[in-house]
């Protein structure tokens, strides 16, 4: 009896061990298929393409939905749902031909009616949060055969239309028609994108499978996107073979990546950090003073030490330092504390009372509180560095970390509270460290219009975070408007070059650094990673090309553990029975 039990237990153990995928795959040939595991560090809230709130949501949504046009790794237009596009000679009428072989994940065919429905809905509802500003400029929208014709009151340039409007995600009319756009969680989304939604366990993972009717071939079976909060845990998961990519590992672990069959890719992000000197206050409104401060900050060191070398110095021109519209001849402010001292001396601002702090033209100490988000340790460290840099020049800096919401309210980012445009505490600060994201200044001619034009939100009198109000501001505003409405490439380029020179000289913002990202990706299981200068390895073009080079090794190891436990318990039971 006992012998039989022992034999049965051993047999069961062998079956369980045999079932363990980690052991089953031994000896098999490399296959195409597999599930790609790419982590997120926080969960999404809702998968609504028109009201997503974080990049985590956007990341998932862009797996599931497609726009007419995507941007490729070099920021060129890539035809997605649109087969082709054309425009009238004055750019005021744009025609998009819709592909005939695009299907929704529920098997229905995507038609031009879906595109029209999406565009029409966004055209008519001005309050939708995720909506291109160009919808406000549309004067007519029509379907002509399998094309959609968009008319504007003026001629927006290709960059405006292709990157801002045509990247609008298209949703199926048969699902979205009649729903409340603002409360729709869309937690079982149906899109036409490369991956089909399967499962979302909140705060745990997303499961996606390849859209079998997708317009381009995809070689993996699907993706699992686990939510792993801590980068250290992500690294151990990567090294252990549970995931295939991760972003921004701790520097000491990044160096160890190669030991775990991982490669490193670095990219720069469209996210730059600046020192905002509140120009509503003297002496911040003195251009020479802002220039002197700018010379006194060692940005190279900030990038090297605080950012671990991830990123680059942001030019004073407020234009990302690469791409079509970057003007390298605009003024720069390489670190030169001697020059800072000379400029302050030239202004006549000296230390008259021997307290190691200079006094400005009104006799007040050059002492400034710098507000910075307490959540962003790197920004707090940056301010500490700035404090040290400026001390020898007789400028005293006080580091004031505060919570993000207070910071944003103080610098005027809210615009107004309850229609009160002069709410208490608005603009009550000396200097602030903040960042801007997603202005596309590397390739988009309208970037300055969005950021600096007095006619647009962020540069308008309602917001105008740095309080820029010199005569140069109006010159730049005119140039921005001229650029927006111009269709002559030469004029556009000349305008943007001039804007950069004016901005670099007048310094509405004192840019510090462009943030960069470091990405690890496993090279022992998959091939076909597509890498771009501003993209990590987990991007749309990787999804279209990535292939397994060998079967996955990681499996549910608990099966082997279960087998061992079963054996131990069985043996113990047999021994107990024998003793009894």
């Amino acid at each position: 009896m006992n012998k039989k039990l022992l034999v049965s237990a051993t047999f069961l153990t062998l079956i369980l061990i045999g079932m363990s995928p980690s052991l089953m795959v031994w000896g098999q040939e490399p296959i195409i298929g597999g599930i790609l595991h790419t982590p997120l560090s926080a969960d999404a809230h809702a998968l609504n393409p028109f009201s997503w709130t974080t990049t985590y949501e956007a990341y998932i949504i862009w797996h599931i939905y497609d726009p007419l046009v995507r941007m490729d790794l070099e920021n060129q237009a890539f035809a997605c749902i649109a087969e082709s596009w054309s425009h009238s000679t004055d750019y005021s009428e744009w025609t998009f031909v819709i592909k005939d072989d695009v299907y929704w994940h529920d098997g229905k065919k995507l038609t031009v009616d879906d595109v029209f429905w999406t565009y029409n809905m966004l055209w008519n509802d001005t309050n939708v949060p995720r909506r291109s500003w160009l919808f406000d400029e549309i004067t007519d929208l029509q379907i002509v055969d399998n094309t959609i014709v968009v008319s504007f009151g003026w001629g927006p340039k290709p960059a405006d239309v292709l990157y801002d409007l045509a990247t609008t995600l298209i949703v199926p009319e048969h699902i979205w028609d009649g729903i409340d756009l603002y409360t729709f969680a869309n937690d079982e989304p149906i899109g036409s994108g490369p991956f089909k939604f399967v499962e979302w366990e909140r705060a745990q993972f997303f499961r996606l499978e390849t859209h079998d009717q997708y317009q381009f071939p995809i070689y993996v079976d699907g993706k699992t996107i686990p939510i792993i909060s801590e980068v250290e845990a992500q690294f151990y998961a990567l090294a252990g073979g549970d995931i295939e990519t991760m972003a921004n590992p701790p520097p000491e672990l990044e160096d160890a990546a190669e030991f775990y069959n991982s490669s490193v890719h670095t990219a720069l992000n469209d996210y730059w950090v600046y020192l905002g000197m509140n120009q509503r206050r003297y002496p911040n409104n003195v251009t020479e003073f802002r220039q002197a401060v700018s010379y006194g900050i060692d940005r190279d060191e900030i990038v090297e030490i605080i950012k671990y070398g991830r990123g680059a110095v942001m030019p004073a021109s407020c234009n990302l330092p690469w791409g079509t519209y970057y003007n390298p001849s605009a003024k720069t402010y390489p670190y030169n504390i001697t020059k800072t001292i000379e400029m302050l001396d030239a202004l006549g601002w000296t230390d008259t009372n021997a307290d190691d702090i200079r006094e400005d033209g009104l006799g007040q100490d050059l002492e400034f509180d710098v507000i910075v988000s307490a959540d962003a340790q790197e920004s707090v460290d940056t301010v500490k560095f700035i404090k040290t840099y400026l001390e020898p020049a007789g400028i005293k800096v006080n580091v004031v970390p505060i919570i993000w919401d207070v910071l944003w309210q103080t610098v005027g980012g809210l615009g107004h509270i309850d229609q009160d445009y002069d709410y208490p505490g608005k603009y009550d600060y000396d200097w602030a460290v903040l960042g801007w994201v997603g202005f596309w200044s590397d390739f988009h001619p309208s970037s300055f219009y969005w950021l600096l034009s007095a006619d647009r939100w962020w540069g308008s009198d309602d917001v105008n975070i740095p309080g820029w109000n010199s005569s140069v501001r109006w010159e730049v505003t005119d140039l921005c408007n001229d650029t927006l409405y111009s269709t002559d490439d030469a004029v556009i380029e000349a305008n943007i070059d001039l804007i950069q020179e004016l901005v670099a000289e007048d310094l509405p913002y004192v840019p510090l650094q462009v943030n960069g990202g470091t990405y690890l990706y496993k090279t022992d299981e998959y091939k076909g990673w597509e890498l771009g200068p501003t993209d990590g390895p987990d991007n749309y073009f990787t999804w279209l090309s990535i292939q397994l080079i060998k079967p996955p090794e990681a499996g549910p190891g608990f099966l082997a553990l279960g087998a061992i436990i079963t054996l131990v318990v069985s043996v113990a039971f047999v021994r107990y029975r024998r003793r009894k």
């Binding site: 001005t126 309050n127 603002y182 869309n186 705060a203």
Partner: protein
């Protein structure tokens, strides 16, 4: 006062405390700077007008007293509100994370309380022995290391290095279940959930057991110096009777209070541990809701936490009444 009157009095005070707590939470959270639309800050594509429109849609441009009235009316109708960011009823959002927290913290709580109380009594009874010294050292050592660091160490050791060293098994570095395990059937899924539970539960439970033991040990050591313990011994009672009948019952009273208070804390979750192990509990959910000003979600969670804390305290006080009749009469 009879037991019924005692309970009625406690219920009344608990109801008042609950009302005050939720009122404070409502007003405090609404008057601090920021709002849910701030999540779109620094994003050039969402302009201030669009953010205003969202606030209007969410009813956040109404006067605060009016918002409070709506909040109370909904609350009495059993409606905790609708999460702005998750676009789901608050009860559903909490309902998704609560089972995981209860599994992790509830299991840990029971283990901590039961093992901790008896271990504390055990070492207190042997005060000054090698065992007691070892316990004190272990407690101080474990407490000197931040819990998240212990968690990370466990991940490195039992998720990564065991694989690197070629051991036959490992524990997952993250999550509460394997993606796709919902299709595996009941038993394999249960094993998978327990497999994921092992590391965070171990880290939490070691800390919890040591904490509760330390508390119990301190109480018991104090009690053991009381005159009535000497009297009990003088009466000729054996050591077990002295320990369990006299010392233990008195030492456990503050522990019961702490247990009652900790019940509400279960919902608050163990934010650090849940974060380190990427465990999908209410702690992480609440933390995120707090920093993103998802008012209904935060209020809903606090209502449940306040309610359960008060309920726990009420139960503790009623148990007090049973354990020690003097409290009732006082």
């Amino acid at each position: 006062m009879g037991l019924r009157g005692y309970i009625a009095k406690k219920l009344f005070f608990a109801a008042v405390a609950f009302f005050v707590a939720i009122t404070i939470v409502f007003f405090l959270y609404h008057v601090i700077p920021g709002n849910p639309a701030n999540i779109f800050a620094t994003d050039r594509t969402v302009n201030p007008d669009q953010r205003d429109a969202l606030l209007e849609r969410w009813g956040l441009n109404e006067p605060l007293w009016k918002q409070y009235g709506i909040f109370l009316r909904n609350l009495f109708q059993g409606d905790l509100g609708f999460s702005y960011l998750q676009k789901m009823p608050v009860t559903d959002v909490i309902g998704e994370s609560l089972p995981w927290t209860l599994l992790l913290l509830g299991t840990s709580f029971v283990l901590n309380a039961v093992i901790g109380i008896f271990l504390g009594a055990f070492v207190a009874w042997r005060r000054g022995s090698k065992l007691d010294t070892g316990f004190v050292l272990t407690y101080n050592f474990y407490n000197a290391i931040p819990l998240f660091f212990v968690g990370m160490l466990f991940i490195a050791l039992f998720s990564f290095y065991v694989r690197k060293w070629g051991w036959g098994f490992y524990f997952p570095a993250y999550g509460a279940q394997t993606a796709g395990s919902s299709e595996w059937g009941f038993f394999p899924r249960l094993v998978d959930i327990l497999w994921h539970l092992a590391l965070p539960l171990t880290v939490l439970t070691i800390a919890g057991i040591l904490g509760w033991s330390w508390f119990m040990r301190g109480n018991l050591i104090n009690i053991l110096t009381e005159d009535y313990i000497k009297t009990a011994r003088a009466k000729g009672l054996n050591e077990n009777q002295v320990l369990y009948k006299h010392a233990f019952r008195n030492a456990i009273l503050p522990v019961v209070t702490n247990i009652g208070m900790s019940i509400g804390g279960l919902i608050g979750g163990a934010v650090l541990i849940e974060t380190v192990f990427s465990y999908p509990g209410t702690g992480r959910m609440l933390y995120e809701a707090l920093i993103r000003h998802d008012y209904p979600l935060v209020q809903g969670a606090f209502i449940i936490i306040s309610g359960l804390t008060l309920l726990g305290l009420l139960i503790a006080e009623i148990i007090y009444g049973f354990i020690d009749p003097r409290i009732r009469t006082e």
